[in-house]
Structure formats: structure tokens, C-alpha cells
Symmetry: C2
Subunit: 115 residues, 2 copies
DNA sequence: CAAATATATGAAGAGGTATTCATATATTGA
DNA sequence: TCAATATATGAATACCTCTTCATATATTTG
């Protein structure tokens, strides 16, 4: 308990901050975020992701590698297809939260791009 | 709420995805994340942030500008000092969530490295 | 085996970004 | 006013990352 519980302490170790930043960084690219959102609810094959999002197979594969390495997505092979999905419920929860928050933020954010 | 409630819909518009990714991107740099964490609970002056985190005043100021522009932090002037803090409760909530999640993730970090 | 399909990977270029250094702009007080 | 303090900003640069193109590696089927 020297490191604080789950109440209000925000004192993270250097390594944890690096981890957290790395996760944010991975979600911080629009293309990667679209990929994560696309297969966070149901698993999708690489080809399906590429087709759905209208991205090249190569680009999708490159991004999937990073997302796998960052433990955001996990891969599962079925025959010649590889299906990708959220790494765990924790990730699913985080994503759902963010989506919800962004929706809320948007509802009372008047300024910005609209015109 | 125009489309989709706060239930399970994850269908974001292109603009919303851009916004969300931009927010993640801003939090995705370790230095910036440290700055945000430092002043997300209580407001801090630029000098205090620099001293606390052992960063140059210039670097802190550059990052603060980005965080302000991204509506993650807000600035408030008092005399010759400028205090920075979380832009709103929404931001505070998001950060608290992520911190909590990263802590949990860390506790059972041994997922499958399977390929 | 070879062919067809699905995915992964290496190299390379274009563009972006974090950091530093120097300097500019407030703000207060004598 | 000038000096001192606090913050902001511009330019330069070294580094990193996204994307594309070409090619390699699996996997199933004939």
C-alpha cells in the first residue's frame, strides 16, 4: 500500500507513466484509433478491417503490429485469417469510457470546427 | 443527445474520432502527461510545474500551450503567475480512469504473449 | 508439389514533433 | 521611469512516425 490504492492517489512511478503515455500514444493516431474502435466490440480479420475502413492491407497490418505490441489488441488465428479484438475487458472498458466522455464533451462544446 | 445515447454505441463521426485521437495524442507524450498529472488535482504555476518536474521553463511553457489549445488544461492568471489546472471534470475523470486502469493492468501484467 | 489467398515485414521518403537556446512580452514594485 | 520576476514565443534541429511499395511468410486446396 505504499504506492496508494485506487482511491485518489495519482502518484505514478516513472515506469507507469511511460506505460500510460505509450498507451495514449498508440490511441493517438486517427487511423489506429479507427482500427481499435472497429474491432473492440467484435473480432475482425485483417482483411475485414482494411475493407471496412478503406485502408491498405499493409497499413492495417503495420498498425495492428503496434497495437498488439502495446497489449491493446490481441490476435487469434483461424485458418488463414487472423482475427483481432480488444486485448481484455480492461481495454474495452477504457475505450467505452473514452467514447462516452468524448460524446459528452461534444454535447456542451459549442466552439470549434462547426460553421 | 442527437445520435446514440450513452449506452453502447461506438459509432463516432470522423470529426469526433479526430478529436478523440488528438486528445490521446496530447496525453501520449511522457513529459506532457507528467505535466497534466501534476496539475490535474490542484492548480500549479508554470514555475512550480517546471521546478517540481525538473523541466526547463521554456519546455513546460511550450507543452502548456498545446495542452491549453487541446482543452485539456486551462490557465488562470494571478499577478505575474499563471496557474494551470484540468480544463473540467470531464478531463479529471478521464485521467483518473486511465490511472486506475493502468494500475490494474499492471497488477496482472502477464497476459499471453502467444503468437 | 504448385497455386491461391491472407497476413506480415523491410526499406525509404515525407512530414511531424520534442527539445534547446535566445529573446520577447507581461506584471509588479521601487 | 527602471529593475526584477514570470511566462510566452520563434527558430533550429535531431529524432521519430506514418504511409507506400515491394516482397516475404504462412495456410489451405488442387
Amino acid at each position: 500500500m505504499a504506492r496508494g490504492g485506487k482511491s485518489k492517489s495519482k502518484n505514478l512511478q516513472t515506469g507507469e507513466i511511460q506505460n500510460l503515455a505509450e498507451m495514449f500514444r498508440l490511441l493517438g493516431d486517427p487511423t489506429r484509433l479507427r482500427i481499435v474502435l472497429a474491432c473492440s466490440t467484435r473480432d475482425l480479420s485483417v482483411g475485414d478491417i482494411a475493407e471496412t475502413l478503406e485502408l491498405s492491407q499493409s497499413l492495417v497490418s503495420h498498425h495492428l503490429r503496434l497495437l498488439r505490441a502495446g497489449r491493446i489488441l490481441r490476435a487469434e488465428r483461424h485458418g488463414r485469417h487472423v482475427f483481432y479484438g480488444a486485448a481484455d475487458d480492461h481495454i474495452r472498458h477504457v475505450i467505452a469510457d473514452m467514447v462516452e466522455h468524448v460524446a459528452e464533451a461534444h454535447s456542451h462544446t459549442r466552439a470549434k470546427t462547426a460553421a
